[in-house]
Symmetry: D2
Subunit: 435 residues, 4 copies
């Protein structure tokens, strides 16, 4: 067997300004470069995903498969193994420290639930060996509970209790495998947890089911001693018109409702932030504020398309603002930078798979370094602290004061507070000094 | 003084199908009609707002005032009283049982905080007398903490503590007046509680300020014995790019964070739901599910404009779906149907003000009656119950069961659940039998 | 063979207000009802499409096939015929006078271009016989030049001239078949005529190719004596990020550029109008204004989803405004009302296929009758004429006058024109008297 | 009188990487730097606009004036002159070669049409003297026909012919002044040329009026010997819900309809492109393709806000793609880079006005240089030419060939064209080598 990537050499750091014809070297990402006492590899914790890269076939709602991979249709264990061989070869070429998967990505679904579990375990052994032999570590595992028609009307929120049970078994199997492979997180994305029309939906019941399911997941994590984080990945719509995990703030409310806010964190995706009407940095700042920051799915969404375009990031100034929030949240601990990004339908070749990741990694590295410098210099934090400084001497308005107390102060002094400039454009100029 | 509406007679119910040239009679809204044991007036609890109707001047971001009202510029107490005279005349013509206001709507701002309070109190006396003499009751009062430049960078979330204090005094004065006038609710819309750019914003600090402020408001309510509901009105953006009360789910999380979920409810606006990427009925269903349903701001937002267009509702089928959720939440108790709706810039005449409300009220009445019949017939609830019926005998998957228990059940039976039709189009047809 | 629709009786007109459990009768559409001297069947000219109904399998970007049809996978001629049998049975049950198809819908693609043509011709014979034996007529035919990977980078606009040639052969074969089956129109929808990224696109060259191709199509139409209309169906994006036939106004400019504005008209789809930022009635009014009105694809697009949701219409007031524009354009001559609408992924059953069309047809009929009455009564045209009436005596500003002439008039009279109410809400109320 | 900008020194080029606290120096824009044989000043042709900078007061739909300028309310000729003094001082500090204005910006409206003209002429003399004494040149002039209520229902498209006449006089006066001041272009933005509701609008009549008006403008241009370009600025909506100059392709169709495509070009605004669902570079490429490229309004629109946010550009990679298209169109001849950008409501200070322009100019310079290098290197044009190369030897499919000829070729060879990679990600990487 010849590797699908046989013609492509491992990607290396080549810090020149000269153009190259294929975009196949890092200009900004040197894994071993130390920034602020930590290597870039440890800061960014890049992960490659299995789904878009090895399952995705280029189809879109108006046309079928365009990619031709040697492991397609991947419906036998042999082909699944062939797929794994090429995947780990790609991980090696890119030099990434992590990877991520759904059960559905690495094994063909079996004819029965039990056979699916058996296949998952067999494939876990197969990739586990590769991981031990120099392969990347597992950033996270997850269960695909959205592609099969059985999840058509929801997974844990399905009107049919048998689907709920099927999900329990599926998640358990994926948590077991993630734990066994040393995964640092376990992710839940509720792709079908939502509804198409209120006309046939019992919203409260479905949310109660989701809450109970998540509690069971958390309990099981503790039972098996899995030390990774449980992460929910918010998304507002698509595939369901209304999804229950709309955005970070919605997930926070959900967790509070079921008392799980200390047990579960979020995996924030750029594209999902955009679809929810937010910026990526907003969602990250919100996650930090609410104590939920876990990991990120790095990609970009077309601002004008309205669906999940999952493109590779290519705008360094935008990446800088995102990593600034990551750094303010303390940087990654268990989390990392997973590329939940897919090739365009017309990008057919092995080299497209490699070059897209190289470009994405480089944009992230470039953004990260700018973010780190901005934070180290206090370029934004200095002005920010100054803006709120009066609150440092405002005890007369805070501790133990009532509305009447505070109102009385305003009235006694007949206050007439005057606005001061927010200096937005100046701050934007300052950011442009770094990016 | 001649009333601005001198040429217009009180609007009456005229149940014919014949066209009329000005749209000035009710075809569907008969206040005294009893539906399900309650009069339409008591079901719908219509309110007219003071701001769009008596303050709005037709300006938009590209052009100034087009409306010419006899009380403009309303910058003296005399003009404010003239405005009140005409407002209550309009309330009489429409026959509405409620009205709503901001402090800013009914009194000219004073030269100082204290003078503003004095003027507010004087105007409260003036309108209070009208209310006692046959005028409508007060659905809710609120404070305008967004128009004046002092709120430019936030109200309770301002970087300047003096603005926080100013807000406390303002809200206190408005709660006092609302209480005095027998208001059934007090509303907070955080128009400037949000941010323009993260570059100059301390998100966590600002949200803490908002939480503390709301706690103070709730405490004060109890202290003065105000029995009305405290309502937050969610909105995702505009005027601020990112507002903290994005949608119902976000407000729920905020309330849970500060332990206020049993003290505060929501006033849901159709237009704000749309701007947040939801349907109105979604937001209403979510409010019900989360125990937050309070009141509604009825209007419509252009689905394609992206800003708050605040148009009068004119689509009866859409109104039916909204009132269906209101009815499922138990109908209005303290809340009601407030028209937070404004005339188009080109609708200059007194008759436009009247006709727009007549049309809106009629659309609501028509929608409400359809909703009531759908609910009474079980036209949707029957199929919905059937869809989830298997859960009624699913104790083996619920009480006290762990992920392992449930997974074991699935595996033991090697479950293979099959999808069944969601029947969306059939349900849509059924709705079309009623609307 | 048992028909897929064996359990379903032909749909009939049953004008009651009583609810029905499945929404399977017409309440508003009586094909033989005469309105304004023409039957409803002849006014509306309903057509059922082959693609969404008989090809669509319920898949979405996050999950595969949910529909299970007896003719799937329809990859043999036998299955294609089985599909045709059931399709014409469904046409009979619905009582529609027209149907529409792509080549791709009715025949499995052959192993070669020639085999594809042979299969198309064989299937044309097969369905032609059904049409002659009481089946519906053909509203239009078209070629699918977007699903196969060969069209990945464009059809007539492809960088590869062989694809251009392939398209010529394909369109020729589809025009021949459409002509032979007595089709009343031939449609071109340029699903892949557009671009993903300007970085690899020669915009001018691609548009030139499209223009030349269209000229060839028009010439061929005349050569073979096809009397039907050639229609372009505008759409702004999806599948391509930027499509060349963005909206009606864009298509007009394109036709003018290549001198084809008298040869080609438009097929306007509600959903595509919405995706382009317009209302459906805007696009229809624009088509009328520009002399391009041809036919409509009736459906509805979720206003908030951003992709082509192709749902069945279910809002009668919206349908009324659309048919009002159709009537103002003179009604349909060759065109008709084609349902380019698909079942939701969860609507699995044969009855869902029938009920969805019944509901859609009924909504159209209801809207049409309201539109017809509004037009007959002059309810909108009267006020509209009055609004522009001053232009009837404005010769001093029109014929042969220069900017200086007209300016001189304004200056001589020192004009100070005053605004008058646009009466939008009153007009909306008037519309609500009819719908 | 002390200048409003008294504390601010002329901005200079200071090519360091060191941060600065106020963002008040150019790091990339050196006006005299020669790139490709032309100075950066001559390439970019920067212009500052009068409206956002000297008329804008910080108000938004939810709150009033926040900016406090010494020339406010600018309702006397003295204040208008004070405003001009400060404006030209700002031009000097920035070192820009051009400025732009509406009549409304530079003179207070008179009590009558004639007085407005007199005031315009007086102010033209006043600013003309400043221009001669070292001030910048005039990139373009235009008439504000959207702010005054008389334009509420349209300017040239108004239902009232007197408004049409008023517009003729206004445009004539502005063209005269633009000509007198040596303006290089004259711009028409149809802010009120569109409609709010079709219910009261005669679309065809209004477009005919617009066409006739534009013809008159073009004739007048020739009559007075104005050598500048006449430019239309497309925008899809806001203030009117549907505007007639939706985007470049729509304007092209409009010009073709009235035979004006050789007389009129476009002024493309980034924000308006975004609002129309396009990228800025799409609109620029379309203008080039259609022979309409004239000038640009440089700014940025929030992708998620839906209204015209008119922010200063701050993303260099995006600017690079825009200038790449400008360069492909041959660069600016009469056109230039006008900042149609406004300060955020909270940016109150004189320094905010200066810093925002400095940041914007620097972003443009940085983007321009990257674009120039990409073009000079053939980094994109090389791969693009290769992608379409087969067309260079495709005479058998082009000259004089019919659909039948081309189809016959495909059939004879039984063509089966195979897709090749579009290399989008690789091209994006290449762009990232430059920006
Ligand atoms: Co993701
Ligand atoms: Co995504
Ligand atoms: Co409201
Ligand atoms: Co609103
Ligand atoms: Co269509
Ligand atoms: Co569609
Ligand atoms: Co502009
Ligand atoms: Co703009």
């Amino acid at each position: 067997m010849t590797s699908y990537f046989a013609d492509i050499s491992p990607v290396s750091y080549a810090p020149t300004d000269a153009p190259d014809a294929d975009g196949l070297s890092f200009r900004h990402y040197d894994p071993s470069e130390v920034v602020g006492g930590k290597s870039m590899q440890d800061h960014l914790r890049f992960a490659v995903c299995y789904w878009h890269n090895f399952v995705g076939d280029g189809s879109d709602p108006f046309g079928g498969q365009t990619f031709d991979r040697p492991w397609f249709p991947a419906d036998t264990m042999d082909l699944a193994k062939r797929k794994a061989d090429d995947a780990f070869e790609m991980f090696r070429i890119l030099g990434v420290p992590f990877w991520c998967f759904h059960d559905h990505d690495i094994r063909p679904e079996g004819a029965s639930l039990r056979e699916s579990h058996d296949r998952l375990n067999e494939m876990a052994d197969y990739v586990g060996e590769k991981m031990e032999n120099g392969g990347p570590k597992l950033l996270w595992g997850t269960a695909n509970m959205f592609s099969n028609p059985r999840y058509m009307s929801g997974a844990a929120t399905n009107p049919n209790p048998d689907v709920f049970a099927y999900c329990a078994s599926t998640v358990k199997s994926c948590m077991d495998v993630t734990h066994r492979l040393g995964g640092e997180n376990y992710v839940l994305w509720g792709g079908r947890e939502g509804y198409e029309t209120l006309l046939n939906t019992d919203l409260n019941r479905e949310q109660q089911q989701a809450g109970r399911f998540l509690q069971m997941v958390v309990d099981y994590k503790h039972k098996i001693g899995f030390k990774g984080a449980i992460l929910i990945e918010p998304k507002p719509q698509e595939p369901m018109k209304h999804q229950y995990d709309y955005d970070v703030a919605t997930v926070y409310g959900f967790l509070k409702r079921f008392g799980l806010e200390d047990e579960v964190q979020v995996n924030v995706e750029q594209g999902h932030a955009i679809l929810a009407g937010h910026s990526f940095e907003h969602e990250l700042a919100m996650a930090r504020t609410l104590g939920l920051f876990g990991s990120i799915d790095m990609n970009r969404n077309d601002y004008q398309s309205g669906w999940d375009t999952d493109q590779f990031p290519n705008n360094a100034p935008e990446a800088a603002l995102a990593y600034y929030e990551v750094l303010k949240a303390g940087g990654f601990t268990k989390g990392g930078t997973n590329f939940d990004a897919k090739l365009r339908r017309q990008s057919l070749d092995p080299i497209d798979l490699i070059a897209s990741h190289v470009g994405g990694m480089d944009v992230c590295a470039r953004g990260f370094k700018a973010a780190h410098a901005m934070l180290a210099d206090g370029a934004l934090e200095g002005p920010r602290d100054a803006r709120y400084a009066s609150w440092n001497s405002a005890d007369h308005l805070t501790t133990g004061k009532t509305l009447e107390d505070v109102a009385a102060f305003a009235e006694k002094h007949n206050l007439d507070p005057q606005p001061t400039s927010g200096r937005q454009e100046i701050l934007e100029n300052i950011v442009n000094r770094y990016v």
